[in-house]
Symmetry: C2
Subunit: 289 residues, 2 copies
């Protein structure tokens, strides 16, 4: 099985760092140079970094460093208590989509949000999110940016995302974008092993996603056997229990040809010197993914 895997050691262009891995400790210009110097070929920056400068400048800095922009992180949460707030949320996302276009990002990562405070109606928020995605899809299509829906681990279902499985995302996509009559596809998924590794239907749904060319991003980190924190205790690849090469094989076998992107939220790694994080992440891409 593993012999079908692309050899990342020979393909720095496939090795990507999501800047969240570095803990947002440095200005984006410094981060860009560190990532390029460490031998990665691609970067996924976050809005907080780009919006503290401007997208055109950041885009130029990234190209000057010889990097590609894999994706742009991430959407403002969509759910709102009323329609005024909902349309405000859509506007925030349209502005971010404009930045994604300026950056030349392959896709815009959608972490959609979930229950607004005081609500327990998960079905209602899922419908509102689907409506928001349909509206944003029109805009994304008009400016040539792809939306990558990221299913988040079910432990984030109350606060970060009401999209919690790949199957759920693909069902939504099937309803929202009905196919070739709409021209090139602009709606797909961002797959993060941390969020999906447990899913009994993962292999089937990855095949389904690949068949329709819906896999827009592939993120790696690891699930630590004794996870201490719901958000900030993700592991470096190889330190946990996820069969990352197995999942990558399934994803690539389904037709995914994009970068392998390291994204790690972790108190530990966010307090490790950045050059050390980059060096270890590069090594683990070659040996544990």
């Amino acid at each position: 099985m593993a012999n079908q895997l692309r050899r990342l050691a020979d393909r720095p262009d496939l090795c990507c760092i999501n800047t969240a891995t570095l803990g947002f400790r440095l200005p984006i210009s410094v981060t860009i140079d560190a990532i390029a110097r460490a031998g990665f070929g691609a970067i996924t920056p976050w809005r907080r970094e780009v919006e503290s400068s401007d997208a055109a400048t950041v885009s130029r800095q990234i190209r000057d460093a010889g990097l590609n922009v894999a994706a742009y992180c991430r959407s403002s949460f969509l759910p709102a208590e009323n329609s005024v707030e909902f349309f405000k949320n859509l506007d925030l996302n349209r502005r971010a989509l404009d930045e994604a276009a300026l950056l030349g990002a392959q896709s815009f990562v959608m972490v959609v949000g979930s229950l607004v405070p005081g609500s327990r109606d998960l079905s209602a928020v899922r419908m509102q999110v689907e409506e928001g995605i349909r509206i944003l899809l029109e805009y994304a299509r008009s400016i040539g940016v792809k939306l990558a829906l990221e299913p988040l681990h079910p432990m984030y279902a109350s606060d970060r995302s009401c999209l919690n499985t790949l199957e759920q995302c693909l069902d939504l996509i099937d309803r929202a974008e009905t196919g070739s009559d709409r021209g090139p596809r602009h709606l797909g998924v961002a797959l993060d092993v941390y969020h999906v590794w447990w899913d009994p239907k993962l292999t089937d749904q990855v095949k389904r996603a690949g068949k329709d060319d819906r896999i827009l991003a592939f993120h790696v980190c690891d699930w630590l056997a004794s996870t201490q924190d719901l958000l900030m205790d993700r592991g470096m690849m190889g330190d946990g229990v996820v069969d990352i090469p197995g999942i990558r094989n399934t994803v690539e076998d389904a037709g995914y040809a994009g970068v392998v992107e390291v994204e790690i939220f972790s108190k530990r790694w966010w307090s490790t010197p950045i050059d050390e994080v980059l060096s270890i992440a590069g090594e683990r891409l070659r040996t544990a993914c």
Copy 2:
């Protein structure tokens, strides 16, 4: 919708305490009396309590207190590194099934375990677990005890259970127990709102489970909006974000006629006086479930 719900205030016989809620602080005989005194009609004891005494004595104490035994918690983990260990695990479960029969428990709750240390092969462990369930089912049938597979939240997929969705459990059940030709059914599910509330397919799968008469237990607690610990921070019903009445309605509408069982793993509630926990749990069964 909610008007179909059974009125728990009128039905103490439907109100059950899983003794894990009380933190295993007292001898089982004392726990039994406290639960009966607080007005509950049923109890689900744990093996650590029963095995520190003996099942026949505990069974008599429970009847003398006027309580029914809803279920018996829980299975020894099934996965093992080799077949000697695997058969040892099966034997531990057979012994527990004997105790369940002695207690007159409606079902034996199966929390099946997951990856053994050093392994990353979730598919393999799922196959081993299915094999173990098939073997135990034969024994359970022979002594008239029902096995209630409990799908656990995906955040426990590495250590506590490789069964993580209701659909996955029902698929396994369909394969393992093919129907009426085998006589009365002895394989079903224990549904805990904490583990399944996030599932986009919950309503459909509950209907499926109900149609085949597979719902053997229904557990309540709550998911706290800012959960601090993966195991020990479950909420009292009403303190979190789960639409418990909505899920209960779906479950009862699907034909479930058993008890509503309170099970809360929580540092907070385990350090609250037991009579206070029982009083609040009883109140919340009436007002928040």
